[in-house]
Amino acid sequence: MLIIHLVILLALPPLLLGVIGKTKAVFAGRRGPPLLQAYRDIAKLLRKALVISETTSWIFQAAPAVTLVAVFLAGLLVPFGPSPAPLAFSGDMILFAYLFGLSRFFTTAAALDTGSAFEGMGSAREATFACLTEPALFLVFIALAKETGSLSLTKMLRSGSLLFDAAAAPPLVLVCIGLFIVLLSENSRIPVDDPCTHLELTMIHEAMILDHSGPLLGLIEYSASMKLLVLESVLVTLALPFGSGVAAIDSCIFVAETLVLAMAIGVVESVMARLRMRRVPYLLTGALLLCGSGFILIVR
């Protein structure tokens, strides 16, 4: 069981990037890069030499590793599909959320470590928007905890099964929408951030890693995709609670679902434009309110 979980966690992420890319390409009428391009990029980067700015310090070099480990640990806390997470204890979702906080601390600090104005800009935006997404995430948690009476992700996400009884569904739907926005923002996708742009002034995540190169950049790309998977898995497990009793099949279903969700993201990215930076907080506040109202509905 643990094996499958690890395999998915370690192997699947780059594929998601590929799927998103492919979807966008299809919408744009291009052939687009092959699905496995992301794997190749990361492998190449890991083999390349490093170029490091003199202004940087050990924090700059430690950050990618810390990020990767943090995201990986977070990945161990979420259930992939119906089967329980390898690490499940009451209150694990708090650790889950704070691990992302840790990774953010280091990414943003590393960005400022380079002394580049653009990276400072990026990290400032990252830190700012996180102040809205984190509460949203916790609203989701308390809503689900109230619904299921449990404090562990594995059990909490089970409440997705309630999506199909009319009484309990509406709040959960709100929560899922909010969660989706959080997902987009945390993974710096359109409409919050555009991973493919090269206009530094408008970037968040990409701006923060302008100075990373070689293996460091590889690690960052990898952990970014892993973060995408982890957050997707939360949404998927909650919103698409399909499963047969058999663990192996469940995992396959789960993988399929994550790919579908990736396509959905791709669709969103192709049909929407990126919001102006000033507008982003409104969107995130919207997510906050959605989750909040979901919670209120559940409490009522």
Binding site: A49, L95, S116
Partner: protein
């Protein structure tokens, strides 16, 4: 036994200033005096620490008589709750005293050194006395000793006007609080019939309400609760850094101790009070960190973070009160445990951070973040410790801050399993706490990076040099403590259980152990795994051997050049993103509370004239409430002076008027006609 250790510790630390007092002010004698004083203090604190640590696990609370004939003898007592706070005092105080050896050498500033040494010892003694006091007046004695010595420490560099001003604001604030405590204890006496601070099972509503409100006010001023925090930033900025460390790390906690103690003595309070305390905590948490974000002064920033952390502590306390009102022992155990542990933790990392800030100030001579930068190269150890402290104070795993916040979270979530809408709504505190956490991350990324990372923004930052060993050692110890609690939270669990038990003692809730309620060991393992894995990976990258030659650049596996900066050839330090601009977005988000100074006019024309942008955020309470009130009072007294312009005629007239007015009071008694009636 342990009690006598503590008593001796108090006496010794009170006396620790004497050697320097009776030695020459300058030169070697002064140095010797400082060393002696510090030595005495350290010995005292070690003794006290041993005593407190052992008392932490002595179940029964013992009490002793303190002879004080004027007020009828006072009571002292020692229970795990007191011991818990004593541990903090006796742990941080010696460290900051050692730090002062390097930071404020007696020979260097002869005028202040005596005062500092003396009142530092008195501060420690006062705090420890009030913690073991079981009698209102003894408590007040310790309290005032603490408050006044703190004042003299804050104002110790009194030739600077701003320090005097900050000191005065502090003094007035603390005296206001003390007077509130006078009232509170008088009420206590009225309600319980004695000054003895022992649990009461029932109390009439009015007195209860009054006592709770007055203690929230009186202690809240000292703790730096949000509307009452106004003295705090100025005082912490003005005080010498080792003092600010002790003030922020320990003295604020004495206010919290007061609240916790009084609420522990009172009978179970209705839910309302729990909600109130929780709300207070949320407010001072969020606004505290918001103000911190807007600061340019490193020490003021840290001071506002104390406000924030006090808020978190109160959130824990409020939740514990709710748990007590609901009769939910698990909530009490978790929330109170988190509250208490956060008190320890904040004591540790806040002192650590102030030490770091002090070293920076000592080296560069400025507290302005926007002038610093790149100090990590000149002062690597300080930087490392500061960064660790930053991670800890943000409550991020794997350090101690996370543990306490986790406990508080779990306590808050406990409300979800309580029936009733209100109970569920209280769990909205969790998102607020999350927001506080995220804001704290932003703020400390700003502080750490702008101070230590990147490159120097102004010549001051160029002057950085590593702090002396006597300053690094305390930081190291504190950092180690932070890490230890983070990686092995199981160690503190039993201490927490004991303290919570003695707080909750008489309310017969059998408390489950915290270790059974919270996944402490999971967290510990996760932390260890995280750090070791990250270390391995970055090591792997650093030591990695290239497979094929041509992939290497001309200069081997790792080349270094200037920051790319999107192709700009010659980036300078002044082009970096400043701390202010980093925080600008968030400050904008909180402008409703912070009211930042308005932006300058936009640039005009093809060749615009140079424009200076200075943002400033004045403290809301001090600037927009206290200030006006003081002005009104001043105007009032000016008006009153008009009535005393030196004319004897006026003065005689006043006598006549007083006479007439008082004679009018006879009218109810029949007045003059009454006199006539006496015919």
């Amino acid at each position: 036994m342990s009690f006598y250790l503590i008593a001796w510790a108090i006496v010794l630390s009170a006396a620790s200033g004497l050697p320097l007092l009776f030695l020459k002010r300058r030169g070697r004698a002064a140095r010797a005096g400082q060393l002696a004083g510090t030595g005495i203090l350290v010995i005292a604190c070690v003794a006290g620490f041993v005593g407190a640590a052992s008392a932490l696990f002595e179940p029964a609370s013992v009490s002793y008589i303190l002879p004080w004939p004027s007020v009828g003898d006072g009571l002292l007592g020692l229970d795990p709750l007191s011991a818990f706070f004593l541990v903090l005092i006796f742990f941080v105080a010696p460290l900051s005293s050692v730090y002062s050896l390097g930071y404020a050498q007696a020979g260097r500033n002869p005028r202040t050194s005596r005062r500092m040494q003396l009142f530092f010892g008195l501060l420690v003694a006062g705090m420890s006395l009030l913690v073991i006091a079981r009698h209102a007046l003894v408590f007040l004695l310790g309290w005032e000793t603490m408050a006044l010595s703190a004042y003299f420490l804050i104002a110790s560099e009194d030739e600077k006007l701003e320090n005097r001003r900050a000191g005065f604001v502090y003094l007035v604030a603390t005296h206001c609080g003390t007077l509130a405590l006078f009232g509170m204890f008088a009420l206590w006496r009225m309600a319980t019939g004695s000054f003895e601070l022992s649990p009461v099972s029932s109390m009439e509503g009015g007195a209860l309400c009054g006592i709770v409100l007055l203690s929230l006010f009186g202690f809240g001023v000292k703790a730096g609760l949000m509307p009452l925090h106004f003295w705090l930033p100025g005082a912490h900025a003005a005080a010498p850094s080792h003092v600010s460390a002790l003030l922020s790390g320990v003295m604020l906690k004495m206010g919290v101790y007061g609240i916790i103690r009084m609420l522990g003595l009172l009978p179970v309070l209705p839910v309302f009070w729990g909600v109130l305390v929780l709300a207070l905590g949320i407010v001072s948490g969020i606004l505290g960190v918001a103000y911190a974000l807007a600061q340019h002064d490193l020490k003021r920033l840290l001071a506002y973070h104390s406000v924030e952390n006090i808020g978190i502590i109160l959130m824990g306390l409020g939740t514990a009160l709710l748990g007590r009102a609901w009769g939910r022992s698990d909530i009490v155990a978790l929330a109170m445990g988190g509250c208490l542990l956060h008190i320890w933790n904040h004591g540790l990392f806040k002192s650590l951070l102030f030490f770091g800030a002090g070293s920076v100030l000592r080296a560069t001579g400025t507290r302005q973040i926007d002038k610093l930068g790149g100090l990590i190269k000149s002062m690597p150890w300080t930087a490392a410790f500061f960064a660790l402290g930053a991670v800890a104070i943000c409550g991020l795993p794997p350090l101690n801050g996370f543990i306490s916040e986790l406990l508080i979270y779990l306590g808050i979530f406990g409300g979800l399993s309580q029936s009733g809408t209100l109970a569920a709504l209280t769990s909205l505190a969790a998102p607020c706490l999350a927001m506080i956490g995220a804001l704290a991350v932003a703020c400390f990324v700003k502080a750490t990076s702008a101070t230590f990372l990147g490159s120097a923004r102004a010549p001051e930052a160029g002057r950085g040099r590593e702090a002396s060993a006597s300053m690094l050692l305390p930081m190291g110890v504190l950092a180690a403590a932070c890490a230890a609690i983070g990686f092995a939270p199981g160690l503190v669990a039993s201490a927490l259980d004991a303290a919570v038990g003695s707080w909750n003692g008489k309310h017969a809730l059998a408390l489950p152990g915290i270790a059974t309620l919270a996944p402490l060991n999971y967290i510990g393992y996760a932390g260890i795994a995280l750090v070791s894995a990250a270390a391995l990976i970055s090591l792997a990258i650093a030591l990695r051997r290239p497979r094929r030659r041509r992939e290497l650049g001309q200069s081997g596996i790792c080349r270094s050049g200037p920051t790319w900066d999107c192709g700009y050839a010659a980036p300078t330090g002044r082009m970096q993103y400043t701390a202010s601009s980093f925080a600008r977005g968030l400050v904008g988000m909180f402008s409703w509370a912070l009211k930042p100074s308005p932006e300058p006019t936009k640039l005009h024309g093809a060749y615009p004239a140079p424009v200076v942008l200075e943002t400033e955020v004045v403290d809301g309470v001090l600037g927009r409430v206290i200030g006006p009130c003081a002005r009104v009072l001043g105007a009032l007294s000016r008006r009153a002076r008009r009535f005393q312009q030196g004319l004897t005629q006026q003065y005689v007239l006043y006598i006549l008027l007083a006479l007439v007015v008082l004679l009018l009071t006879l009218i109810p008694a029949g007045g003059l006609s009454g006199l006539a009636a006496a015919k």
